[in-house]
């Protein structure tokens, strides 16, 4: 135990002892807080409905395969970014280049990161340039819940974009229920410092918050590679990050709006390879400036017509620079990319009877990409979507069907000009039957991901002849809910099968020295996802158990003649993974332990030795909040990777081992 850690523990003990004396007074507060939290759960719908007297009965969600972390459970996890929370979901694989600033993307049921749509309050965070969202950029502190839907969310009134990805992650922004200001300060391992401020209000039906954060970390964590052929120890270099994030949201009834700004500079560390010294580090650095403003309004007319409009503007800037003397191995470039995105959607749902809804939505998105690359030219894309959907909910029988039409048109003079326009219909259908808390469901969804602007036009790599990457998913599942006074149990299990055709991959060109994007390969995946959640509360005690299990076999189905690869597991896909989280709370003292296991994964097909070893990750979090009248002081100690496991998501990109975070919170 390091000296610093010992100090932290001493501090916690001291505070814990001191606070025991005043614990009685806190009990009342805690009770109130619990009630508040209960209200907050699902408050987005309940609250807003009251305000505008929209009394929509939300569809029974069990028809969709979904997992949600919300409220107290979400805050109890030892997580700071959205990516950290999602790794506890069944069927999710995290791709993380390690380090503090490493890109974090998720892959759901092996469809590929670009098939995962990420939505904030129902509006997609888009990146036409590369199609993925770095989840490390989104903080949990302003989120009420994080949900994963494997096909469609299936609200009565949702935009066409929400039907357009293979899996959807919904981030639900917090709607404040009271006025408060809080300040958080954090010190963590590897010279990590963070300061955060949150101010929120709830005034005459208007709710809103401003949340700001500044974080800096050297990220110079130690790593070790120990095998038959090496014993490498070192510290990660060029792994630092500094970022600032400011966001604000305003809500009133059916109106919601959100404004977001993120500014960061980070090092992009490379793989750990054999070197004789630390002289050359292949340094590359990245700067990001992301801004978006979005608003949404939903209302109900004549009791039978639901109506929603969404609008968003996003502006993203990225600079990548390799002009450093430590970098002798790559071209020295300093490139700037600017992307703008304007989006609008209109949705309407008609419910002639309480058991039937028919809805339609039209989405329009305009994207403009500019970059100072050689031989590159502005690229413009217009993306339009129309969806027709219906839902039926009658005596426990639920049926949902939708047909989505997408239309993409690009304009550019880059390379050989724009790709041909793309038009396509894709269907999805879901069926479920519920009997006494037990739901049986089945669904099928076809969807594709359109080649991104990078895939099509990026200098020296882009290929305008790419076809969309097509997925077909089939799912059968059971879900059961049970609750009794102090107990609540939720469990679900789904078996699934999916197929990805025309995968878009970057391959070296046949017999030349350049790489290019190509449609190559087909994969077939079968799996089982299961989750079990239990809650127990008695007086001032509260216990939660959250667990998820994934078993899947994801195989290559490209070329039957290639015996070495055909029907063999594809790289980076573990057969088994599981996450178990236990939360125990007494009054305002809370202890969380999370365990994550990811089985072994191949990283090349050439040698059985080319595997990433399985890893076990145990995170622990202890927090205590002390209330003094209206003010509160909180202290939280987190220990991540308690076992100091050395592991990787990508070969030679080591993840940090054991690390600590100590957070102090003041609130009024």
């Amino acid at each position: 135990m390091s000296k610093r850690t010992r100090h932290y523990l001493h501090a916690i003990l001291a505070i814990a002892l001191a606070s025991a004396a005043t614990a009685g007074a806190n009990a009342q507060n805690q009770k109130a807080k619990e009630i508040n939290e209960k209200e907050v759960t699902g408050a987005d719908s309940i609250r807003s409905l009251h305000e505008v007297t929209v009394t929509v009965k939300q569809p029974v969600r069990t028809i969709a395969t979904s997992q949600t972390l919300s409220g107290a459970d979400l805050q109890a996890l030892s997580t700071t970014s959205v990516a950290d929370a999602l790794k506890y979901f069944a069927g999710v694989q995290i791709k993380d280049y390690g380090g503090m600033g490493g890109l974090k993307t998720i892959n759901v049921r092996s469809l590929g990161a670009q098939h995962v749509g990420v939505y904030i309050d129902g509006i997609r965070i888009s990146n036409a340039q590369n199609g993925t969202v770095d989840l490390g950029k989104f903080s949990l502190s302003s989120m009420e819940s994080v949900s994963l839907f494997n096909a469609n969310k299936l609200d009565y009134c949702q935009s066409a974009s929400e039907y357009a990805s293979g899996a959807t992650v919904y981030l639900q922004t917090k709607r404040p229920t009271n006025d408060s200001i809080s300040i958080q300060l954090r010190n963590g391992s590897f010279s990590t410092w963070m300061a955060k401020m949150n101010a929120q209000f709830n005034w005459k039906g208007w709710q809103g918050f401003i949340d700001g954060e500044y974080n800096t970390s050297k990220g110079n964590y130690p790593f070790r590679y120990h095998s038959e052929y090496e014993d490498t120890v070192g510290r990660r270099t060029n792994s630092d990050i500094r970022y600032g994030r400011v966001e604000a949201a305003l809500f009133k009834g059916g109106f919601s709006s959100h404004i977001y700004y993120y500014d960061s500079e980070r090092g992009c560390p490379g793989g750990i390879v054999r070197r004789l010294s630390d002289k050359y580090t292949n340094i590359g650095r990245e700067w990001d400036r992301d801004f978006f403003a979005q608003a949404s309004y939903q209302d109900r007319f004549f009791d039978k017509l639901l109506f929603k409009v969404n609008a968003k503007y996003a502006n993203e800037y990225l600079r990548y620079n390799t002009k450093y003397p430590e970098n002798q191995n790559t071209a020295k470039v300093d490139n700037h990319y600017r992307q703008q995105d304007a989006y609008a959607a209109i949705c309407a749902a008609y419910m002639p009877w309480s058991w039937l809804s028919i809805s339609s939505s039209y989405d329009f998105r305009y994207s403009l990409l500019r970059a100072d690359l050689k031989r590159f030219d502005d690229v413009e894309r217009v993306d339009q979507k129309v969806v027709l959907a219906t839902q039926l909910n009658w005596k426990g029988i639920q049926v949902a069907a939708s047909a989505l039409h997408q239309r993409y048109i690009d304009w550019t003079f880059a390379n050989a000009g724009a790709a041909d326009p793309l038009y396509k219909w894709t269907p999805s259908v879901s069926l479920a039957y519920t009997y006494r808390g037990l739901t049986a469901r089945g669904w099928y969804k076809e969807i594709f991901r359109v080649p991104t602007l990078n895939d099509l036009y990026y200098t020296q790599v882009g290929n305008r002849n790419l076809k969309p990457e097509y997925t077909k998913q089939f799912n059968l599942g059971l879900e059961y809910h049970w609750s009794k006074k102090q107990w609540a149990v939720d469990m679900q299990a789904d078996i699934y099968q999916n197929k990805v055709e025309n995968r878009i991959v970057c391959l070296p060109l046949k017999g030349t020295y350049t790489w290019s994007m190509m449609n190559y390969g087909e994969t077939f995946c079968r799996g089982l996802n299961a989750t079990l959640k239990g809650h127990y509360s008695k007086q001032q005690w509260h216990f939660s158990l959250l667990s998820s299990f994934t078993w899947q076999r994801d195989v290559d189905r490209t070329d039957p003649e290639d015996g070495e690869v055909y029907d063999k597991p594809i790289c980076y896909s573990p057969t088994f993974s599981t996450g178990i989280t236990g939360i125990a709370a007494w009054r305002s003292l809370q202890f969380t332990t999370s365990y994550l296991y990811v089985g072994e994964r191949m990283w090349s097909m050439a040698d059985p030795e080319d595997i990433l070893e399985p890893y076990h990750n145990i995170d622990m979090k202890l927090s205590y909040t002390h209330n003094i009248r209206k003010a509160s002081v909180g202290l939280c100690l987190e220990v991540c990777d308690v076992l100091d496991m050395q592991y990787e998501h990508l070969p030679r990109y080591p993840m940090p081992g054991r690390n600590y975070k100590l957070t102090l919170t003041f609130g009024i």
Binding site: V273, R275, A331, T459, K510, T512, S604
Partner: protein, 430 residues
């Protein structure tokens, strides 16, 4: 008794012939970039002995993206490990001798038996006399007694292929980083550098951009590839005459086919697999060439190219997923090519007889592309006995048995000799 003795002698000879390997090929598997999995395969007489030969022999890994391998003398082989910034020296049995980090972003090598000359895309070099910095790329001269860089010479941007002829280095400049965004254009020149003083003599402008990839040598001739600019300028190949270049005469002919992967045959010709690609059309053009450089130079490119490879080699290569290298064993004439497949699986080695009959395919590791044949057992390179520094006269010629020849009139055309520490195929020239 006599009968028995004869039998024993015959048995001993039989065993000797079987034990003494004739085909000994070292192949570099580049591995996957930044995965630290560059590996050496060792192939001997129809069998892959190991696909992790370096690890087996040394207990540690070679590094990331090995890019070239040459034999320096009977006891020394040099391997440049590009992304690791290492030049690794090994003995012919695979055991490591030394490694140097002085030349970052190293590309290709040649040797005179005393020094190793390395081309580099980097902009700095650690020499015995301190750090040296360059605006463009450079060539470094490594002394194999100290394994340190003793001299450097700046050439063009991103210098690639390097060859030694009559005491001069011929370096093909690519300027390849132009294609990925650097502020200069593609290079079109071949730099000629005096090997003894390591000073730039002159640049020969070929007018062809991006002289990139493997460059083979047959005596005075070089076979240089240009992938073009991948847009308007198509890929092509160049036959370069070092002798004429030194004499200041017109010294190269350009032909319309790329020589993406190329090698030298026992009779002094070049074999090449070419693949041209243009982003404008998204189309490939493949070519399979046997090039007679002498005829090419004499006829100014009018003739000297045949669109074929020996035996079934062309058909076999056309059936590959991704050809990644071609090689002829300079001692035996056996021919090899590799198929990298789809890059995440293991590559394949194809072996042909000197006549072009496919003898077999063998599993290697990821992205196998660079070859070195070791002399058959009992044969020496003869390089150890080279006493004269390159460029100084007289430069003696040795055959593979180590016999010394004082002048070229004693040599047989189409046979391998060692001159200035460099293997060469002798052609009786006019």
């Amino acid at each position: 008794m006599k009968k028995h003795l004869t039998f024993l002698v015959m048995l001993a000879m039989h065993i000797y012939n079987n034990v003494c390997a004739q085909e000994k090929i070292i192949i570099l598997n580049e591995g996957l970039w930044q995965s630290d999995n560059g590996r050496i395969s060792y192939f001997e007489d129809g069998k892959v002995v190991s696909n992790q030969w370096f690890r087996d022999k040394n207990g540690y890994k070679l590094g990331d993206t090995p890019n070239d391998i040459i034999q320096v003398n009977d006891n020394l082989i040099a391997i440049d490990v590009n992304w690791s910034n290492i030049i690794q020296f090994i003995r012919p049995d695979g055991t490591a001798v030394a490694a140097t980090e002085g030349v970052p972003n190293n590309r290709k090598m040649c040797t005179d038996g005393k020094y190793v000359y390395v081309s580099s895309y980097g902009h700095e070099c650690e020499t015995a006399n301190g750090m040296v910095y360059f605006e463009k790329g450079f060539v470094a001269k490594i002394d194999i007694n100290s394994f340190k860089v003793v001299a450097t010479c700046e050439v063009g941007y991103e210098p690639e292929g390097i060859a030694l002829y009559k005491g001069h280095l011929f370096i093909a400049n690519s300027g390849g980083y132009s294609g990925v965004g650097e502020d200069h254009d593609y290079e079109t020149t071949v730099s000629i550098v005096d090997a003894s003083t390591l000073t730039l003599k002159k640049n020969v402008d070929t007018g062809i951009p991006n002289l990139y990839g493997k460059m083979s040598q047959s005596g005075r001739y070089l076979c240089i590839n240009s992938p073009g600019d991948y847009f308007e300028i198509p890929a092509c190949g160049i036959i370069f005459d070092c002798e004429k270049a030194l004499n200041g005469e017109d010294c190269f002919v350009v032909f319309d086919y790329p020589a993406t992967y190329n090698t030298t045959t026992l009779d002094g010709k070049f074999l090449a697999i070419g693949s041209g690609f243009s982003f404008m059309t998204g189309g490939y053009e493949f070519s399979y060439l046997t090039i007679d450089p002498k005829t090419m130079m004499e006829t100014h490119g009018e003739s000297g190219i045949e669109h074929t490879l020996p035996g079934t080699m062309m058909d076999d290569i056309m059936g590959m997923t991704q050809p990644y290298g071609i090689y002829v064993n300079p001692y035996t004439g056996y021919m090899y090519a590799t198929d990298a497949g789809y890059y995440t699986g293991s590559g394949d080695l194809y072996q042909w007889s000197p006549e072009g009959t496919l003898l077999g395919t063998h599993k290697l590791y990821i992205n196998p592309g660079h070859f070195l044949a070791l002399p058959p057992s009992g044969h020496m390179t003869g390089i150890e006995t080279v006493t004269h520094a390159p460029g100084s006269s007289p430069s003696f010629i040795y055959d593979l048995q180590g016999r010394r020849y004082d002048n070229e009139s004693q040599l047989k055309s189409g046979t391998i000799y060692i001159k200035d520490g460099r293997k060469m195929l002798f052609n009786s020239q006019p």
